[in-house]
Symmetry: D2
Subunit: 341 residues, 4 copies
């Protein structure tokens, strides 16, 4: 991921570790493990009643590219050692493929050699590596939960609400909506089911001129990054899908920022806004019909392991990181390092 | 665009030509100018009452990479010479920036050196180069108009409707909806305004295993390509935004293909489905407030030139091409050339 | 070729044209066809008794990316239409493969679909596309012929000799050596044979800090570009092969620039020097043993067509261009646009 | 490094570790730490009287991408933890730049933020990461020392000599030459100086058709990789520099493999041969003139640390790995997995 600032990730949910290498970062930026840890803590599970009971710990270690508190210009390798795995939870999945999960295409693609435990490389745990990569970039992006299942935020987001995003475990800056969302998630847990939702993301303070026309448009690169997050099935910028129902004379109105801060693929100096749709997690304890690939017969599967009934509250720092990385990459390409990195 | 099959495009709306170079295409595929011309004719303007009156002609010429009717393995360069331009229509735009258009960020980014006539590199005319690139790939993808403004298709799309897509100038396989859409477009033209809309795209016959987890997911690469099309502001796969309101037990249902044929970023052998939201074109004849950058004063602009009141009916072959190119690229990467290319 | 400044080339020796697209060039640089033409004229055949009698003409046309004499920031497409081809000269090569030429691996790789006329994509004619690409970069690089066959330059090159490089048709700034080289080439022509030789290249005025350690070293990128020139079989920087016979205390001497201006893959502010070995051209009129792939029998081949007995005198602008492009790419990556582009 | 099989390396000589991530490796290849360790042991110092006395240990650990002894298709991360460093040896280098070393351009490029200890990212220790990356590829490549200082191998290399390469600590398969080379290295150590030399590399068993014309030629990609090895200053294929002195009729002779197994950038099925020139290591204990950047005054430097008087005997597995990686990358691109990977 990235042209000038290239992020490579590795690791599996139930392997030794997950990690990231960020290459192309300029020398002389301040970076400490604590900076990355702070962002990782915002996404880690085991934080509250609405998320998985796994206590991942997730202590990041910087392996290279930082010397005496500053980036050196060399590749920055970062790692989190895996702990508290219960791989035995996954032995049933060796032959029973989880519906709605990557188990089936992965088995075919990798001819049965993939690490199936916990989804392996496909696990949501890998989103920690995106957060490691994004931690280096300036904090211009603020993402929050705007909808869980059918419960949407009631208020329009304003910059004043930024401090409230992490004020509750749903990561929704509207406290009343957050309470309803929380109730919905607990309901899904009781039902042994899961819920999806929506993340909205706002980036302010961007210069005019980030992005390239056609193949390097900001929308192309951000959407490409955002669809690297497991469970994402839709992305829109500015007025997005709703805007396609309006007329040109309505939608051109620049004060309402229907363009989401991007015209012709390039930043226009207004806030960059996007919305990201997450499907409900496919790993649910409720019994579902599946196929046992060993016997070839129909089977029933209840996915064990300690899964989130809703992954969306953990996603804001991940979306933050992806957007920040793409913007930092374009800032380096376009010579705008100051304001972005 | 592309990892193994790399598309480079060039040209401007009011320059000498628009063109494309496709590198990485295997040797021995049949390719003639007529094949590409057929796809280009589906997107070209001047076809009916609902589109621009420019008669672009758009005759493609293959410059290299094809010898005696077959691809040679060398880069395939293709070109369309521009004709029937009226650059004088654009002199006003030298100082008056079109609202909702790339004029402003392009002027800043390129320090005033960009070719502003007709949007230059940002013009919708460049979508012809995407079509040139996609023509080499197999015709597994079928895109159609599913909504214009607020008028949506009434029927659910089935494969039987494929032959009807190009049965009307709206490119909607539901003839009754097409008539209403057509009326809406003519209404927008009368109002000197424009309309947006939605394209849906279905690809059948794909093998299991196309795509890569994380950064090379099919969703990442297709969305990146689709957001390279001017006016696109949203993309969703399968149940997309609507699916984020459902529960895991509902959304996991594989018969309904809520996954849009993709799990973990990889094809699962079911139809690959996506929806693309187009904003209404920003170039409208109606008077709009703008700024004259020469005088620095507020101004009023009526965009001249012969523009489409709705670009969406011209977009199906463009979406087809982008999806086909991404799939062909992944087929080459994964060794699935037979079924896709 | 290139990370930030990407050159794509296309065309065949006996197809319609040869061309190049240069993407990533900053806006606002002065560029006219005459600038490129001047460099092309330095490599074009038909100039003197020692080169091929083909009168290629080679008029370059800029198709895009330049508006009113300046680059726009959009991809710059450039083309030369082919003329004066005699494709009939090549019909024998359909079945008789030229020894020492790419005919055999190309036939296998492309399963017989490659354009075999004149080498197609493998032709030395494609070096014109490298020159088109390099013309945009600043003229800091000066390449010259230092050896033809066994005749080497007698003097040590100094900057004062730069104006003499194009003072003779051998492109050797030592006039006495040039006369001997010329005689050697004419001798090879009489013998229906060909000669190889050596190009030396010096770049002055570079800032300190161009290049990246390890995979993006200046040596890596320049050698990769130089080996894209047909017939190149060796590259060395600074003291190169000879330096490997010295000791550290000798070779460390910075005044003698044994490092060729590069340490750790990065420019050090001293002249960047390299030497490039060209094999003798494989297409010779003299009869050579070969195989007729149709009959499977041994055969004798005298390569027709009007070939250079020595391509080395045409190579200096090509080496100039490759070095200039790599340096311009690294200048854009490292933020050194001023001195290099 | 690589198009389809991408190697990313990280780490510093005196940081926590050095490591590599190899992405794009097919699933189902056997890989164990022992396989990589075997190749690493061939390059590690502390083996004999002619190399550094550091006992690096160099135990490789696979962190991801391998499950139950097979590659999974996910990125393979590998790491070696650094031990036995004496960073205090390097404090003098903070202000006194080593002549002939990357210290100066690195200080300028990274504005003083680079890890100067032991060369940091520029250290020869990083060649261990190239070996980790190359270990996955099949052992078709055999590299050996053909010259140390002025002592060259007396015999012509044949395949029968392959088992003798690692028969002595110089890695030269000609035992008599090896004895002389060893004496030369011990002489250089006594003189507190260093020696350069030459590596030759032969790869057999390649299919016809690996490589791409122009920018993806085998020569381009191999030379680019080989120049990523510290101290390399020259590369030639087949008859190389010597061949540039011959005539076409001599050089075309296919039996002598003057082409080094490559024509038009593509493998021809004959052995792929190259020669690599290494300069003498710039870190020598002998006193050398330098500049103290703190005082700005001339100074004298004797480089401490335990350095090899000649790095060339450690380079054969590194050259092996680079060549093997490039060939494996092209094999994946061209669909030749069987014979190469």
């Amino acid at each position: 991921m990235g042209r000038r600032l290239v992020l490579t990730t590795f690791g599996e949910s139930h392997g030794k570790c997950v990690g990231a290498v960020l290459d192309g970062c300029p020398a002389g930026l301040k970076l400490e493990e604590g900076d990355i840890q702070g962002m990782l803590d915002q996404r880690r599970p085991g934080q509250s009643a609405i998320s998985t009971q796994r206590a991942e710990g997730d202590k990041v270690e910087i392996l290279s590219g930082v010397f005496r508190g500053s980036t050196t210009g060399a590749p920055i390798a970062m790692i989190i050692w895996n702990r508290d795995q219960r791989s035995t939870d996954y032995e049933e999945l060796k032959t029973k493929l989880r519906p709605g999960h990557s188990d089936y295409p992965a088995m075919i693609k990798y001819k049965g050699h993939n690490d199936y435990r916990g989804g392996g490389r496909f696990s949501g745990r890998l989103t920690a590596t995106l957060v490691m990569g994004g931690a280096i970039a300036r904090k211009l992006t603020h993402s929050y939960v705007s909808q869980i299942g059918k419960v949407a935020m009631g208020k329009r987001f304003t910059e004043k609400m930024i401090p409230d995003i992490y004020g509750n475990d749903v990561r929704c800056p509207d406290p009343e909506a957050a309470a309803l969302m929380r109730a919905a998630i607990l309901g899904a847990r009781r039902d042994m089911d899961s819920l999806g939702g929506m993340i909205e993301s706002v980036t302010t303070g961007l210069p005019v001129g980030l992005g390239e026309p056609v193949f390097g448009s900001l929308e192309s690169d951000i959407s490409s990054g955002v669809f690297s997050i497991p469970s994402v099935k839709g992305v829109e910028f500015g007025s997005g899908f709703a805007g396609s129902e309006s007329t040109g004379s309505q939608n051109n109105d620049t004060r309402t920022n229907n363009a989401g801060g991007i015209l012709g693929g390039i930043s226009i100096g207004m806030p960059l806004t996007l919305r990201v749709a997450f499907k409900p997690a496919s790993s649910i304890p409720r019994e579902q019909p599946t196929v046992d690939i060993k016997s070839g017969k129909d089977a029933v599967l209840s996915v064990k392991g300690r899964h989130d009934p809703c992954v969306v509250p953990r996603a804001p720092p991940v979306v933050d990181s992806v957007v920040a990385l793409v913007l930092a990459d374009h800032a380096l390409l376009g010579g705008f390092i100051g304001p972005v990195l």
